[in-house]
């Protein structure tokens, strides 16, 4: 439990909070990028290099960009007049708080049973590649299929329909 972890944790949580509370939608998107970056650094802190870099590549390089594109395409950067929170915000907040209470309670209660510091696992990218091509080849193929389907689906959903005014 070192200082780096705490710094990263604070950064991540604060950017996450900013992402769901800020008024301007683009600021939210930028804040969530900060949260993604903090999580990626936490992955690196956990010696999961490959997952951490994949997280940066996919989330900051693609998802965050997609989000800001979507915001600009839907004129989302104008702050709505009726406020940014929905009518049922209190119920939502209550549910979230309840979920956190339950999760936190579970973690704290089982903290003694959790394993302590163990040796740093030395996992090379080669091992990951071999695992992907060996033991996990079926999930890999399914993910590939899923990605293709998702790409086609996204294109078709977002495409202009014929005859529809632009």
């Amino acid at each position: 439990m070192n200082i780096v972890f705490w710094i990263l944790a604070v950064i991540t949580v604060l950017s996450g909070l900013a992402a769901v509370t800020l008024k301007n939608t683009v600021h939210c998107a930028l804040a969530v990028t900060g949260a993604f970056a903090g999580l990626a650094l936490l992955f690196l802190q956990l010696d999961a290099q490959f997952a951490g870099f994949a997280q940066i590549l996919v989330y900051i390089g693609a998802v965050a960009i997609l989000v800001v594109f979507a915001i600009l395409l839907t004129r989302g950067s104008d702050t709505p007049a009726q406020g940014v929170f929905s009518r049922t915000w209190f119920a939502g907040l209550l549910i979230a708080a309840a979920v956190f209470t339950v999760l936190g309670w579970a973690v704290m209660n089982s903290a003694a049973a959790l394993p302590h510091e163990n040796a740093v696992p030395t996992v090379t990218v080669q091992q990951i590649g071999q695992a992907l091509m060996g033991r996990y080849v079926l999930p890999l193929e399914i993910v590939a299929l899923l990605l293709t389907a998702a790409m086609l689906g996204a294109v078709i959903v977002a495409m202009h329909e014929k005859g529809e005014p632009k």
Partner: protein
Amino acid sequence: MTPLAGYLLVAALVFAIGLAGALTRRNAILVLIGIELMLNAANLNLIAFWRYSPHPEVLTGMMFAVFSIAVAAAEAAVGLGLVIALYRHAHTTDLDEINRMKG
């Protein structure tokens, strides 16, 4: 507190924040952002469990996280495509206004 518990707590907090965002915001894109945060929190759990598991060389948790990242990318693409289609249809992304099933 063990290191693992710290990571799990942070993940729980991020998950709760994401859930709160998804449940309380009006804008559909921000709801999507909340969902992404929740997915990420889950990934952090997976990686933390992998790191402190007795057999990290088995890679299961890490693989799960990597696949989850790939799925999240697909989810984001489709979700944002849906938001854009919705915007074109209803001319708003405010989820409180989009409450009719009939176009």
